[in-house]
Amino acid sequence: MLKTTPFHVRTAPLVQGQAWRRWAGYTVPSAYELVHDREYAAIRNAAALIDVSPLYKYLISGPDSTRLLDRMVTRDVTKCRVGQVMYTPWCDSQGKVIDDGTVSRLGERLYRLTSAEPNLRWLSLNGAGMDVTIEEISERVGALALQGPLSRTILQQIAATDLANLKYFRMVETTLAGIPVAISRTGYTGDLGYEIWVDAARAVALWDALLTAGLPYGITPAGIWALDLARIEAGLVMLDVDYHSSHHALIEAQKSSPLELGLEWTVSWDKGPYNGRRALAAERARGAAWRFVGLTVDWDSLESLYAGAGLPPQLPAVAWRGSTPVYRDGHQIGYASSGCWSPLLKQYLALAHLSAPHFAVGNDVRLEVTVEHQRRQAYARVAKLPFFDPERKRA
């Protein structure tokens, strides 16, 4: 049996179509309702409540905790203040990404690291000889993402502190309806949103409190299908979908560097030694061979391909995952790794890896589409990521 999250007793009865997804050995709802439009709409319009407990979570404490993390990840953790959260990838010595996640500084010598995959061994290896304690708390801590324009309003109903001052990528330890929680202004939707970290024993009480407080504001439990649409609009990369951990790659070509994934902004060039620093500096000097970009598919082109078969365009309601060739001037120049119809932007979007020099924003390319069993190519344009970036995300 797969593991269930601390919220399972509440989420399971709401899942109408037995649509579940595996995530890190857990089972979480793909969608609660038979059609997930409303769950997605809640993310962009009201507030969606998403169980993200399967994330791996580690507590790192001790005098060398800053040193350990700074050695491991690409961002400069020495600049992370108490109450700050940093999104960061971490690399092997060749500068290829192992995983990505968030580093939260809970105290002077106390951090929480989240990740998509297990990292206890990697943390221990990097902390060898350091005065540091690494503790996995994945199962002890439940996690909920409350995402959407009304998320702050809802939390404020039951929060013991004023959240108006909680800035983007900052966190606070407080209580919600009397339940001790940590709230970080983070998420995977590119919208105003928060992630809430709670002792697993109080998880159900927190769920109930949030749903009650959120009812007048349209709070809606949302599954992974809705989240996936939002994260593509937000241009956020996903492990095992858009890239593979260098620890799992069987061949070099399956590995990616932060520069290739559009994560150059997370790489510190002026901090002390860290995993992959030399390789990344060299890669930067010669220029990355690949770049992770957005594609917007030209609708007229797609419509005419389908019209050729006597059909209106047919697109899946769920985001697709899987490699789809991208062409330019008749040659394959890369591949898209996920895509979806954006209900908000009314555009067909894809996230793609394009090789140099084809990845410049504004370039015209072609994306392979299968129309009635025939492989065709639709016009697409390289777009700046994120596709959707509302002011309220940071405001």
Binding site: L34, V35, D37, R38, A41, Y217, G218, W299, L315, L344
Partner: protein
């Protein structure tokens, strides 16, 4: 005197679309709106403190995807929220539901009629083909069948060729749709009366016809046209109400450089030597432009904004015959809590969708009978939605807004509309609702009742017709608004029309506004 390349009279959604396209093409464009807010019949207003309503037009279904793309509307605020279901309370205490999920809907229909559940799939496919056949016409400037001009001949050939390409079977189906009543047409397919009634209701909206009136079957198609586009385009509630759509288009127009003035009522269009030269405002201000575009309905465009003496007599006569006959009203309720339906108690997912009061074809036809003889329906057809269920910003937390579209309420009420008659009409609506949701009365904390006369007075739509002129076959395509003047022009040079009284018209579609702008840009040399 200020000068513009083009002036749009009326800031309804079509006028705004025209303005956006003209400005996008580099024309110095000005929109003049009489009311303090843009939108015409697509406006959101805070009728009661904290309660916002899409006062008139209340859902989006057919907004043209090319307009969404051309004007980049999502960047300017377009956000369509799902409207997923319809529930019809029945007189026997049961209900008929239609849900977002196909399996659920089939199972629900099979509960009432297994045959209908099967037929619905085939009917849906036929409607798909019919809608695909008609859809290109929405994007076509109507050719003039009586003209021998090469462009018209080409247009007619294209039109004829389009129908030939359908093949015999689909052409015959389309012919039937064009000529039959929706009740007769649906009788050929289904046996469960509430299903037929509910489907036929979409054929009578905005017309002064009943489900058994010939010609109503065609309007069924419009519903399916929304469905073809539905998954990818726009079907549902605009966040912030339909007024937010108008504001979105206005923002797009401004981003292209258009100027929009509210509280600026146009008194008349200035004409010199058979040519439009500008407009005169009610304030006395005059503004010059070689192109003046009316977004108002055909009667106002042809006979009120200009001296009818400037128009040929036969055009004035044809316009005088153009039928408006507003037949619907609107009741907007502010609710302290959600209603409880007898047939489906509790605050379930059905309250996020539409509630349709259409229990039988006879019910609808009787509702029409009242209207035929000058009365509002004692038991009206009602299409009810609660937008605050999915857009919490429309009402204070925990409270709700309910929008009730009501048919029939004839513009020409016998004895005329008075305050007392309006309230009696509102009572009939609440009484009808209370039969299915007995607790509704105690939940009402505000009630706005709008008769066709109110709609006319506020929005300017003649006789309160929500489509700026009936959507009936004799008033569509090259007959909209009158033969010979269906291509957005008028007999006055430089004076154009872009409102829903032109092809294809109706609903928050924007197609009239877009086609008008394209014709102006093509034909005016402006």
């Amino acid at each position: 005197m200020k000068r513009y390349d083009a002036i749009i009279v009326g800031g309804g959604h079509n006028g705004l679309v025209t303005a956006a396209y003209l400005a996008r093409a580099g024309r110095k464009t000005l929109v003049l709106e009489r009311r303090p807010l843009v939108g015409g019949a697509a406006v959101t207003e805070e009728v009661f403190p904290g309660f916002k309503f899409s006062v008139y037009s209340y859902v989006v279904s057919l907004l043209r995807p090319e307009i969404i793309r051309d004007l980049d509307l999502p960047r300017h605020g377009l956000q369509i929220l799902p409207l997923e279901s319809t529930v019809v309370p029945l007189d026997n205490g049961d209900y008929l539901g239609s849900w977002a999920d196909g399996d659920l809907t089939r199972r629900e229909l099979a509960r009432h009629s297994r045959k209908d559940a099967e037929a619905a799939t085939l009917f849906g496919r036929l409607m798909h083909h019919m809608a695909m056949a008609v859809k290109p016409i929405l994007a076509m400037v109507p050719p003039d069948p009586a003209s021998l001009a090469p462009s018209d001949l080409r247009g007619m050939l294209r039109f004829a060729g389009h129908f030939r390409s359908l093949g015999a079977e689909r052409f015959h189906a389309l012919y039937k749709l064009m000529t039959m009543s929706s009740a007769d047409y649906l009788d050929e397919w289904f046996e469960f009366d509430p299903l037929k009634a509910t489907k036929s209701a979409s054929g009578i909206i905005g017309t002064f016809l009943g489900p058994r009136s010939p010609g109503t079957a065609y309007v069924l198609l419009h519903h399916y046209m929304g469905e073809i586009d539905g998954a990818f385009r726009a079907w549902g509630f605009q966040k912030g109400g339909t007024g937010a759509i108008s504001e979105t288009i206005a923002r797009a127009a401004r981003s292209f450089g258009a100027e929009i003035r509210t509280d600026a009522a146009v008194e008349r269009v200035l004409v010199k030597g058979g040519r439009a030269t500008g407009v005169a405002l009610a304030s006395g201000e005059e503004i010059a432009a070689p192109i003046v575009v009316s977004g108002l309905d055909p009667r106002r465009t042809f006979t009120q904004l200009v001296d009818p003496g400037e128009m040929p007599g036969d055009v004035v006569e044809a316009i005088s015959r153009f039928k408006f006959r507003g037949s619907s009203g609107k009741v907007n309720l502010a609710l302290s809590r959600l209603p409880d339906l007898t047939c489906l108690p509790g605050a379930g997912p059905h309250l996020r969708g539409a509630i349709s009061i259409s229990p039988s074809l006879d019910y609808l036809e009787r509702a029409y009978d009242d209207a035929k003889y000058g009365e509002f329906s004692r038991n009206p057809y009602m299409d009810i939605v609660i937008p605050s269920m999915i857009d919490p910003g429309m009402a204070p937390p925990g409270k709700h807004v309910m929008s009730i579209f009501v048919q029939y309420a004839p513009y020409a009420l016998s004895g005329g509309w008075t305050d007392a008659r309006r309230e009696a009409f509102g009572d009939a609506v609440v009484n009808t609702l209370a039969r299915h949701a007995p607790d509704i009365r105690s939940a009402i904390i505000g009630r706005q009742v709008l008769t066709p006369l109110d709609i006319e007075r506020t929005t300017g739509l003649t006789e309160g017709n929500i489509f700026a002129g009936e959507l009936a076959l004799h008033q569509l395509f090259f007959f909209r608004p009158v033969p010979g003047w269906a291509k957005y022009r008028t007999p006055i040079k430089g004076y154009w029309q872009c409102g829903a009284g032109t092809h294809p018209g109706g609903g928050i579609m924007g197609a009239s506004g877009r086609l008008a702008a394209l014709e102006i840009l093509r034909g005016s040399g402006a």
